[in-house]
C-alpha cells in the first residue's frame, strides 16, 4: 500500500505540473490543448510502442485464443470493474443504476462463475460505463486541458488525476503478489487492445491527422460519457452560415 502511494506521487506531481503549465502557457492553436507540442511528442512515442509491441501482441492474442476464451477474460475483468462502477453510480446519486450494477456483480459473480460469463447483460442489466473522472465531471468539474499520458494515451488533467483514484480502487492493482499482479494487469491491457484493433484500423482509414482526430474523438467521447450518452447540444457554428 505504502509502496503504491510512493509510486503515485511522481505521477501526481507530473500531472499537477502539466496542469499548471497548461494554465500559463499556450503553445497550440487549440485552447483545449495548450500542451499540444508535448502531447504530440507523447502521442508519437505511444504510437511507436503500440506499433512495435502492443499491437502485434494484441493481434497474436486475438489470433491464438478462441473467441469464447477472450470474452471470458474480458468478462472477468469487466465484472471486477463493475464494483467500482457501482460505487461511482452512487457517488453521482444514480441510485437505480447503482442498484443495477450491484445486481450485475451479484449475478455474474455467482451464475456467471466468478464473472467469466456476462449473463446479466442478457437478462436486461446492460453494462454501464463509469469511472472517477466521470463522477468529477458529473459534479461539474471541467475536464481541463487535453493530456496524452505515457502508454495509457489520451486523457485530460481531470481524468488523469481521477485515474489515480481509479487505480487505488482497482482490485487488479491490489493483488499482493507482484508477478500475479503484473500478469493480470498485462493480460487485461492486451485484451483491451485486442478489442480495439478494429476501431484503430478505422481511425487509420479516417484520419487526415491522426493526433487531432484522436484528440477530438476522445474529448467528445468523455463528454458523452459524463452525460451518459445524452450530452446537451453545443452551439453549432454551422447555423451561423
Amino acid at each position: 500500500m505504502g509502496n503504491r502511494v510512493r509510486k503515485a506521487k511522481p505521477v501526481c506531481a507530473a500531472l499537477l505540473l502539466a496542469g499548471a503549465l497548461a494554465g500559463c502557457a499556450t503553445w497550440g492553436d487549440n485552447p483545449r490543448d495548450p500542451l499540444e507540442p508535448l502531447n504530440r511528442a507523447m502521442f508519437s512515442f505511444n504510437d511507436t510502442i503500440d506499433e512495435a509491441v502492443t499491437k502485434p501482441v494484441a493481434r497474436g492474442y486475438r489470433a491464438v485464443l478462441p473467441g469464447f476464451v477472450r470474452s471470458g477474460v474480458s468478462n472477468f475483468f469487466s465484472n471486477v470493474e463493475d464494483v467500482w462502477i457501482c460505487i461511482n453510480d452512487l457517488l453521482q446519486g444514480k441510485f437505480q443504476r447503482g442498484l443495477d450494477d450491484f445486481g450485475r456483480v451479484l449475478f455474474n459473480s455467482t451464475f456467471g462463475i466468478a464473472g467469466v460469463f456476462d449473463f446479466a447483460s442478457d437478462v436486461g442489466l446492460p453494462k454501464n460505463n463509469e469511472d472517477f473522472g466521470q463522477t468529477l465531471g458529473w459534479w461539474g468539474v471541467g475536464s481541463g486541458s487535453y493530456l496524452v499520458l505515457p502508454i495509457l494515451g489520451p486523457s485530460t488533467v481531470r481524468d488523469g488525476l481521477a485515474f489515480l483514484v481509479d487505480t487505488q480502487a482497482d482490485f487488479v492493482w491490489r493483488i499482493d503478489d507482484v508477478s500475479s499482479r503484473n500478469t493480470a494487469v498485462g493480460v487485461r491491457f492486451v485484451g483491451r487492445r485486442a478489442e480495439l484493433l478494429d476501431a484503430t484500423s478505422i481511425i487509420e482509414q479516417a484520419a487526415l491527422d491522426k493526433y487531432t482526430f484522436v484528440r477530438e474523438a476522445w474529448l467528445q467521447r468523455r463528454r458523452s460519457l459524463v452525460y451518459d450518452g445524452y450530452p446537451p447540444r453545443e452551439k453549432d457554428d454551422e447555423d451561423s452560415r
Binding site: S71, S121, E195, S201, Q205, T212, F213, S224, P231, R241
Partner: protein
C-alpha cells in the same frame, strides 16, 4: 367549344397523374427510426450472406454502400458542419469538390467498419421525438461478441421533401463529422481551402491503394 373538348382529357390525365403521385409521395416519408431499422436490417442481411464482403472485397462493400446507404445521407450538410465557419470562405465550386472528397473519405471509413462486421447484435432504442419534429436522433446500440460494453450508434436526421436524411453519425458519442472540424480548420488556416481539398484528395488516393478491410 372544340378546344374545350380536346382540353378536357388532357386535364383529366393531369389530375389523374397528380392523384397518383401525390399520395405516394406522402406515404413514402417513412418514420426516421423505421428507416434506420429497415436499412440496417437490409445491409446486415447482405453482410451476413455475402462471402466476398466477408473476405474484404472492397468493390462489393462500396457497391452495397452506394446503393443502400448513400441515398439516405446529406453529404453537403455533413461537409458544411465539418467546415463550420470556413464553409463561407469556399467558393461554390470548392464547396462541391470538398463535398465529393469528404464523401469519398467517409464512405471509405464506413466500408472499413462494415467489413469488420461479424456477429454484432443491434438494438434499436425507442425514438424520443414528437410527430411534428423535423430534426431527430435515432439511437441504436451495438453489442459486440466478446465485449460486455455496448457501443451506441446515433443517427442525427433531418426531414426533407425527399424523406429523412442522415447528417451525422455518432459512434460512442463521437461525431463522425465534427471530429473533422479541428483538422479542417487547421488545414484551412495553414494552406487555405485548396490546401484542404488537396489533402483530402491525397488521403483518398492513398486509401484507394492500400485498403482491403484487413486489420
Amino acid at each position: 367549344m372544340k378546344t374545350r373538348v380536346r382540353m378536357a382529357p388532357m386535364n383529366l390525365l393531369r389530375i389523374l397523374a397528380l392523384a397518383a403521385v401525390v399520395p405516394v409521395a406522402h406515404a413514402q416519408i417513412t418514420a426516421p427510426d423505421a428507416l434506420v431499422k429497415s436499412i440496417t436490417e437490409e445491409v446486415v442481411t447482405v453482410l451476413k450472406q455475402d462471402k466476398e464482403i466477408q473476405a474484404g472485397n472492397p468493390k462489393k462493400v462500396a457497391e452495397l454502400i452506394e446503393t443502400k446507404i448513400l441515398p439516405h445521407f446529406n453529404f453537403t450538410r455533413m461537409t458544411r458542419i465539418a467546415m463550420a465557419r470556413n464553409w463561407r470562405l469556399a467558393s461554390p465550386e470548392q464547396q462541391k469538390v470538398l463535398t465529393t472528397e469528404f464523401q469519398t473519405l467517409l464512405v471509405r471509413t464506413y466500408s472499413t467498419a462494415l467489413s469488420n462486421f461479424r456477429d454484432q447484435q443491434i438494438d434499436y432504442k425507442p425514438l424520443r421525438a414528437r410527430p411534428e419534429d423535423t430534426d431527430v436522433t435515432v439511437k441504436t446500440e451495438v453489442r459486440q461478441p466478446g465485449s460486455p460494453q455496448p457501443v451506441g450508434i446515433d443517427y442525427e436526421m433531418e426531414k426533407t421533401p425527399q424523406g429523412w436524411k442522415v447528417y451525422d453519425v455518432k459512434v460512442g458519442g463521437v461525431s463522425l463529422v465534427t471530429t473533422y472540424r479541428e483538422t479542417f480548420a487547421s488545414e484551412v488556416r495553414s494552406k487555405g481551402v485548396d490546401g484542404l481539398i488537396k489533402s483530402l484528395a491525397e488521403k483518398n488516393r492513398q486509401g484507394g491503394q492500400a485498403k482491403s478491410g484487413k486489420t
